[in-house]
Point group: C2
Chain length 352, copies 2
């Protein structure tokens, strides 16, 4: 095992001081050309690379971004990470990942683990448990320590930080309007409980679209699903709920589902009930992922541009990090941006 080569080692080998080596490698003209070349040749030969940790300690910058997400085995989140990594890498940053698994305590733990010098800033999406408890002290404390946060998708308005969100309301509204324009008169929605704010927003969009288009609002066409129903691939409860709704409301001719799984389950139940898609029932999902693209029939859905969300979040964070170098915290009256990424309706076979 070759020892890792350091400035000190080069200095000793070449009988010069550490300072001289450091300056030579930086091509400082304080050092004679002769010495510079000698040092550079030596360093190159032994493939010297400065130690990142030492640099981090000195510069008080790690050039690393911490990302905390609720889950990673998930098309949306992994695509966001892809976007983050893309920009981060381009701008010389590393990405370190923490998973909260939708748990409050894991979210806190992960943030504490990273906040002590390991990273320069956070990009995160709030876990469901945190949203439910509404305990956001860890975010506020982190920010108070001077570590910037960028939140995406599942955000909390009261926290002072940049945010990147999806226009959930408008996206849902457009989806429902598409159903209306395609001839649907009785449109149902399959959504989540209200504490997941994006779920609530999507429900709002649904309601708004109906109201603006003078369609009757019918509570029995709004199915709010328990989150636990998705655990362990056990979809049966979800299926039963959907089946119950479709049977007791046979007039339903369009369904808007707030995620892919819900939408696919709707199609599955419809098939079981011998309803043809899109002739008898049109379906639109939210989150345009691999499932929508490969479903049978392929699923019309609202694309959130997950990659772009990640890219913009990374840009916002890095911009702020590099701004701080100059401003030096003078302007305490900082302005935080909330950027809205537009959704796009991807039309496929599940709608007319």
């Amino acid at each position: 095992m070759k020892k890792k080569i350091t400035l000190k080692l080069i200095a000793k080998e070449l009988n010069v001081s550490i300072s001289t080596v450091s300056k030579s490698l930086k091509n400082s003209k304080e050092i004679s050309e002769e010495t510079r070349e000698k040092v550079q040749a030596f360093a190159k030969f032994y493939n010297y690379k400065p130690n990142n940790i030492a640099l981090s300690l000195k510069n008080k910058k790690t050039k690393t971004i911490g990302v905390i997400i609720p889950e990673i085995v998930h098309y949306f989140f992994s695509k966001v990470i892809f976007g983050i990594e893309h920009i981060a890498n381009q701008r010389g940053y590393n990405v370190i990942i923490g998973l909260s698994n939708e748990s409050f305590s894991k979210e806190v733990l992960n943030m504490e683990m990273l906040a002590n010098g390991s990273i320069d800033g956070f990009i995160l999406s709030i876990s469901k448990e945190t949203l439910e408890k509404r305990d956001f002290h860890h975010f506020n404390e982190t920010i108070a320590q001077g570590m910037p946060i960028v939140m995406f998708d599942r955000v909390e308005d009261s926290i002072k930080c940049d945010k990147v969100i999806v226009d959930d309301l408008l996206g849902s509204k457009k989806a429902v309007e598409k159903l209306i324009n395609s001839g649907c008169n009785h449109i149902a929605i399959v959504t989540t409980k209200d504490f997941v704010n994006v779920g609530a927003l999507r429900t709002k969009g649904y309601i708004l679209a109906l109201e603006e288009n003078k369609k009757a609002l019918n509570d029995s066409l709004i199915l709010k699903v328990e989150d636990s129903e998705l655990i362990d691939d056990n979809l049966t409860q979800l299926e039963q709920d959907i089946e119950h709704m479709l049977i007791s409301n046979p007039e339903i001719d369009g369904v808007f589902a707030v995620n892919e799984i819900y939408a696919l389950t709707v199609m599955k139940v419809a098939r079981k009930l011998k309803k043809r898609i899109p002739e008898d029932l049109q379906v639109i999902g939210f989150s345009d992922g691999v499932l929508s693209q490969n479903a049978v029939p392929t699923l019309t859905s609202v694309s959130q541009h997950a990659q772009k969300i990640g890219e913009r979040a990374a840009e916002l964070l890095i911009n702020r990090l590099e701004l701080e170098d100059y401003e030096e915290e003078e302007m305490e009256l900082e302005r935080y941006e909330t950027e809205v990424i537009e959704t796009e309706l991807i039309e496929r076979e599940s709608t007319k």
Copy 2:
């Protein structure tokens, strides 16, 4: 913005030396109980946490694992990461992610970026371009520097490191045998070009199963797909190839596909050709992901236990890292393990 609190700061505030503070916090009995309590109370009140970077520099350990994968928007890889993160977190390690995007140069760059002190060891899966070029110098150099690597799934035998692989050959063989036992007589395979070693192994398993069961081997039933066919969601070329094979060989009654997309495409084409699944054509895929579970009909497929792969890789790496603390590089004749994770055939509706 509160200044980050340090030992030096506590020391000054309490009029003791830095050493005393450090020792007090570690409950060293070298320090009087009175002083200890005073320091600890102060530290707790101001929520002191030691700076990770300084610790890393001192200990020459970062407690961080670097993971380099070809892509992250991919069920298999994201599930592996989930497994890695699970174990890593449990044992006090962080996970830092680098994406190679299947590119050799990005793989090298990412490794260089991390190898200079940022991490203690690597877990990685080799990019396709690297496999094709067969240029592995970056792995060997990293290992020579004393940084351990654990490879998973796409590995290279000649490299001296721990490996976690899937029994691709046996898994495929079992899948094909399942088709044979379910009455298939003319079984086709949709696979990749041979330089992706896992693709080659799966092809081998297919051939082996046929031979052992005295089934004729027919080259026109082996479809080796160009990887570029999958780029940009443009599946048409793939569809055409499959359609061509199915039409020119109408006797085909079973297809084994080496990944989910290939399998779904087979089913799509079969539907177009009015072949019923599984009555006329049985299909098995490899990699049991969200697509297999939600396809119509649901897809029988070979599960690789991606999460377990990640967990074992993390365990192997961390074990080695923590062993090194004691052995101190004396035993140069180290033994490296190659652990095989068994596959499992998950039977669903696409087979009888």
